[in-house]
């Protein structure tokens, strides 16, 4: 009977662990899921930001090209060196023409060839 009782006691009474394991922290499954999405989206956002920044630099160049014919830009056309040299020669030629005075004095002849 003692044996039976002991068995019964052993069955009924829960055995207590003298060194219970520390209770595990319970994690929220929903928060973990958001974290995963965040880590996936972060690089995508970075790429998008990079594209945005790049587009700021690239866009004006494209716009100037397309708007060039429509915007009247006052420009003074510089004269090239060969043209200036030709201009010099031309002016010099005219100056030579002006200076080449061809007024020949009357011949120094005697009016009296008589006897």
């Amino acid at each position: 009977m003692n044996d039976q009782e002991t068995i019964i006691q052993n069955l009924d009474l829960p055995t207590q662990n003298p060194h219970p394991e520390p209770q595990k922290k319970r994690t929220n499954p929903l928060a973990s899921k958001n974290k995963k999405i965040f880590f996936i989206l972060l690089p995508l956002l970075g790429v998008l930001l990079l594209l945005l920044v790049l587009s700021l630099f690239v866009k004006p160049q494209v716009n100037t090209n397309t708007q060039k014919p429509t915007i009247p830009t006052p420009q003074v056309r510089p004269i090239s060196t060969p043209v200036l040299n030709d201009l010099d020669q031309k002016i010099q030629s005219i100056q030579n023409d002006i200076n080449s005075s061809q007024t020949l004095p009357l011949p120094d002849i005697n009016s009296d060839i008589s006897l």
């Binding site: 043209v83 009016s111 060839i113």
Partner: protein
Amino acid sequence: MPLFINILLLLNSIFHISPVFAQNTKLKSDYNYSFSIYQQTYSQFQQSRQAYLKFSTLNTQEAAVPDARKAQLARLETVKTYLYLQKDSLSTHQISSPTETEIILQNINQKIEAFDQLSKTTSSITSIEQINQNNDSFNTLYEETKELIIQAQIRSQANRLLETLKQISQLLDSLNQGPIPNPAKQSWITQTKKDLEKANQEINSALQAPLLKKVKNNPYQKNLKDSLEYLNQSQETQQKILKNALEIKNLL
């Protein structure tokens, strides 16, 4: 591009004129040769005349008449070659006013013919009377010719300056074709237009004013002097334009 075309045209005109320059050089050489012959014959004539006036012999007379004839012929040849030279100079710059220039050229041709005729008469003279008569004929003809020579010289110089004036106008046009003139360029263009007008007026004064008034004492010299003064003024005005063009061309 228009400037480049203008320069090409200018170069073309320079090459086109070159045969004229060659002809002008030959005519100058002919004139100088004739004048040197005249100086030699006149020197010989002076010696013969002195001998004739001193001794009045038949021998000295026979020596003096041919020497006088030679000197008169050489004098006529000198005037003719001088007229050919004037004619050539006038023909070179006749684009500006063809009608007036053509009239002067015709008158020069007439004078050359008259001197030719006088040369024929002179070559056949044998007496002192003919020598003296011929001398008078020459002086009458030469006095008429002097006025014509001055007209030709003034017209030739005026035409030459009108040509350079035209070239400067073309230069101004070519420089005026830039897209938007800067203030310095615009100012130069405005001033140059005024100067061009002034230079043109000075040429007109040279052609008109002096020839209208007749100064009794030495009219040819006076007329020539007056006209040349106007022409010099025009020349100075044109040079001023070009000087400014050179100074301002870097700002264009």
